[in-house]
Symmetry: C2
């Protein structure tokens, strides 16, 4: 019986599409403990079916891998580590075009340049696939404490937020630690600016105040809402990110302040001071713009119609230069393709590089990709969108037989300590492919600092170690090559 469970995990980034999956049952261990992804999100069971693309699966063990792919893996790893072109390209793109928010000129210029360089490099089927994307523009914004003393508070409006009226909104701040406290003290919220001062636990939990804060605050009559940034460390660093409204509930402006300033306001209110702030935002949502998913391929030599798709997302928030989120994922996968091409390692099946657009505030790139390519046979979808740090292995969601096969393939990565395969993997942009039963994989990295930089002005190229980028590329190249080449 070929019917198997494809578990599905959502990771960092936009949650909108992913919530659509949540009618499904979260997977648990035999003891009933939930199986979680690296970011702490539940791994869901899917009711869909998948076929195993390989023959004689039981024999695809580590001995087989070493015999069949040991030499290729060694060549890939050596080749990956011998120059820093991936980092140079990442730097060039980040420094030259800057942040790459959907709808911006920066993004489209970066895409033009990417397409051009990939054509010049001689990649196959290089093309942009048009995608309509939202165009949210931050504009001028500020947050100032006006009482008990004047004090400028660094802030970032949250993506998708409405503006304040032109003169801003000046109101007393009501500080709550969580939604439960807001519910308990709902009677006090009317006319106030609610500050959700939720300490960072794990991204998947704390991000709810960013995603839903404006809805929950407006429900009880607040005129605006602020969050303590979703950050595991802060140097007075606000973190932006996506948020949403609900049609039945009034829309109010929603912004993030640094953890230090949330502490300050909480301290003042706890001792009985009345804290008033003036929040001024001029954000606008413009008509949808046209962006592109960036595609390049290494055509399969035997079954070109079977596809391993791998990539990252080319868009970013409009702060910093989106180096870790997710230029790193783009250049790790680009470099993986480049290595295979340069070494003449053409696998049986096609490896397709896809650099998705609009992951951050719409996921329209990932949705368009799944819809446009739904009649193709994807045997694996891979995304790198958890930052580029030292690689450790892979997360995988799919049939247990495949997990065994890829675990065996992972042993080829012992030389760069990236052999571990864990249950539960995926990425926002590949999650729409779950609907077509495509197994999901991501790279796992030493990401303890990821939420220092995520969606901040500090997400700049210096935060990536070129060696880590090369190691990630090596790990991805080996795994994708094997996945695409297995008999």
């Amino acid at each position: 019986m070929r019917l198997c469970l494809i578990a599905f995990a959502f990771v960092l980034g936009n949650m909108t599409f992913l919530h659509a999956q949540s009618g499904r049952k979260p997977l648990t261990t035999p003891a009933g403990t939930p199986i979680l992804t690296a970011s702490g999100e539940p791994v869901y069971e899917l009711s869909s079916t998948a076929t195993i693309p390989y023959t004689n699966v039981a024999q695809l063990d580590s001995v087989f891998m070493q015999k069949s792919y040991g030499d290729a893996a060694k060549r890939i790893i050596a080749h990956a580590l011998k120059d820093s072109i991936a980092y140079s390209r990442l730097q060039y793109m980040c420094y030259t075009f800057g942040s790459r928010l959907s709808g911006s000129q920066n993004l489209e210029r970066a895409i033009d340049w990417l397409l051009q360089t990939m054509k010049t490099d001689g990649h196959e089927n290089v093309r942009g696939e048009d995608v309509k994307v939202p165009a949210w523009v931050r504009g001028e914004e500020s947050c100032v404490m006006v009482s008990p003393r004047p004090y400028t508070i660094p802030m970032l409006g949250l993506g998708g937020s409405i503006a304040t009226p032109a003169g801003g909104i000046t109101a007393e701040v009501m500080v709550v630690r969580d939604f439960a406290e807001l519910t308990r003290r709902a009677a006090e919220a009317k006319g106030k600016i609610v500050l959700f001062n939720a300490p960072f636990t794990r991204y998947g939990a704390t991000v709810r105040y960013r995603s839903e804060g404006a809805i929950r605050a407006a429900e009880v009559g607040a005129v605006a809402s602020l969050i303590r940034s979703v950050a595991s460390y802060s140097m007075r660093t606000p973190h932006t990110g996506g948020m949403r409204y609900q049609d039945s509930i009034p829309k109010i402006p929603h912004a993030a302040i640094a953890t230090e300033d949330a502490d300050l306001i909480a301290h003042l209110t706890e001792r009985g001071e009345k804290v008033k702030v003036r929040l001024t935002m001029s954000a606008q949502t413009m008509p949808d713009a046209v962006s592109r998913n960036v595609i390049a391929e290494l055509k399969g030599r035997e079954k070109p119609e079977e596809i391993v798709v791998m990539g990252g997302h080319i868009d970013s928030w409009d702060v910093g230069t989106g180096a870790l989120d997710d230029a790193g994922g783009c250049y790790a996968t680009w470099k993986a393709l480049q290595i295979l091409k340069e070494l003449g390692l053409r696998p049986r099946r096609t490896i397709r590089l896809a650099l998705w657009t609009n992951e951050e505030n719409g996921l329209r790139g990932g949705v368009d990709y799944a819809e446009r390519h739904k009649n193709e046979k994807h045997i694996l979808a891979f995304e790198s969108d958890g930052g580029i740090f030292t690689p450790q292995g892979f997360g995988f969601t799919g049939a247990p037989e495949l997990l065994k096969v890829y675990t065996a393939a992972g042993t080829l990565l012992h030389p760069i300590q990236s052999a571990a395969l864990k249950v539960g993997g995926g990425g926002a942009d590949i999650s729409p492919l779950v609907a077509y039963s495509v197994p999901q994989m991501n790279i796992e990295v030493e990401n303890s600092k990821y939420f220092w930089f995520h969606h901040t002005q500090a997400d700049m190229p210096d935060k990536i170690d070129p060696l880590d980028l090369n190691k990630c590329a090596a790990a991805i190249a080996v795994m994708m090559y094997v996945a695409a080449d297995l008999p």
Copy 2:
């Protein structure tokens, strides 16, 4: 023969006064290697004389210390660790009054509150001593790359800088790594904005670009100057700090940008792009204002006219809340005084707490203190101005006999791993007392992160661990008590 060398070390902070010492000979080891302070500055020999305030100095060894002060030290340490009042006060001051730049209302309000609380606490001779201080006001400021693409660059004007004309200065950026490169390429500098992109090595070396950059750039015809922030780590964090002009050389605006943006501009110029920025600053130097050194005492029971002075500086830059620089030093020494008072440990000599004003941009508090109290007999001057982290011991500059005595006293601090005494200690505010041959001491801390936060918006109370603050207070209280009480 009582003639001895008083070595002198300058540490973090304002360098103006200290440069006046530099006619003196730097101390070296017998092998000719320069003796340096923790921040890498030379330790200077002084030609002045000092008397040893204690009798039978040779007998003041660790056995003596343990016998005479072992119990007191244990009580002090236990008492220091039993509450978090020092941290609560620091938080209260930082959050309530904010940053405390000389000439600001914030600073004087904080001083009013400090004087009031210290009176309420029942300290002796609590008073403010008026000091005229400079009043530099930052005003609005910005730095924008206008070419090759629009890009906002976080920046901080440097303290004392002049403003730009109202519309800003727009000019091409010339990037140099050091003064030598500027000299080599002097012919190119005319009409440009020079960016000193000097990587951080040690504070004392790299800070020269902040202090002298405007002079050196103006000398070769630049219209403004920027520095790569003096920072050992950055999350897009500009660092402000003092700078100076030279009368014979035109004054030009001088500002700091984050290391990430210095990298970006350097990257663009290295590949031949012409980078233009518009620097806009409206800084003003107002007439001098009146501030105060904050004084409190624990009168000596036998020789009240002999004084151990200890403290930190109460002013800060106008960013963040000056929690590490130097509210921490103020509250570590305040808490030391408080502990001795609460335990009824009244030493033979007077311990005086002095919280100096205007360390950051004038050193007028330290200079006024030395002048006003020059006829008093100071046997030791202590400052904490290197951040509050885990204490490790003390730096000391003075007679070798005294170094031996204080090294013996340090053994009382083994329970909190703060026993080490090193040659070369001091602090900017106590450096004027060198002219009166007063031995100099500072606390040494695990300061590897100090230049992450120094003079930035990130210098907020959360950067201090309350336990470290208590441990520093314990170490200071023990050392000051012994120094003031020895026979």
